[in-house]
């Protein structure tokens, strides 16, 4: 079960995760990460731009690599694009596997790559206008863990 999507509208993670879990009978474990737009001081909105011809194929390639690297039964990878408000879900990655190590590591792997190696450009709106967000040093360090 493989479900990779870009969503231009608000979503409720529970409505994706329930069916995803049901679609992988016989699994040993499911790990799920849901990221939400944080209530950072002064941030009114966040906009995530993508470039369709690269962004979705890039997510599919990332899923391919996750399936090669880990023993998975299923992978769900859903990313919001467009305008979001603090508190809204922005990303949901769920991995189903026979063993928990594969499920947890696959989610970790996908999240690190989505955060700093996927074709998204994020900017936030503050009182004085829009500001582009640079990846944090921590994000680059997280990504480097998988390159050994």
């Amino acid at each position: 079960m493989r479900d990779i999507r870009l969503l231009p509208h608000m979503f409720i993670p529970g409505t994706l995760i329930g069916p995803f879990t049901q679609a992988n009978p016989g699994l040993g474990g499911v790990c799920t990460f849901v990221g939400e737009v944080r209530y950072d001081e002064g941030v009114e909105a966040l906009e995530l731009t993508h470039y369709e011809p690269l962004t979705l194929p890039g997510m599919h390639e990332l899923a391919d690599r996750a399936f090669e690297r880990f023993t998975l039964m299923g992978l769900l990878m859903v990313h919001r694009v467009g305008m979001m408000r603090p508190g809204e879900p922005i990303v949901c990655v769920s991995a189903a596997a026979l063993h928990r190590r594969d499920a947890i590591d696959a989610v970790d792997f996908c999240m690190d790559h989505l955060k700093s190696a996927a074709w998204f450009w994020k900017r936030e709106k503050r009182g004085d206008g829009w500001h582009w967000i640079e990846p944090r040093t921590q994000d680059h360090a997280d990504l480097a863990r998988w390159q050994a």
Binding site: T49, Y51, P57, A118, W121, K122, R123, W132, I133
Partner: protein, 79 residues
């Protein structure tokens, strides 16, 4: 025509999300037609170029024909 799409910060520099330029279009023609700040940014190797959704390794070798879409892609940002 060739469509030129600006992503992220490059859209701010260009002052628009996209631009139509006459075909055919090469690297020098592209740079000459862009706002100077964008043309300058393209020299930075961190800013990538894609033609019809495929990243190109050799920017100066760019060749775009009528109907092609060129995307100018700054480093991804997120976190």
């Amino acid at each position: 025509m060739v469509t030129v799409v600006f992503l992220g910060k490059l859209a701010d520099l260009a002052g628009a999300p996209s631009l139509q330029l006459p075909a055919p279009l090469g690297w020098e023609g592209l740079k000459a037609a862009l706002p100077p700040a964008v043309a300058e940014a393209l020299a930075d190797p961190r800013n990538r170029v894609a033609v019809n959704g495929a990243l190109i390794a050799d920017k100066p070798g760019l060749q775009a024909a009528a109907g092609d879409e060129i995307a100018l892609l700054p480093p991804v940002s997120g976190g």
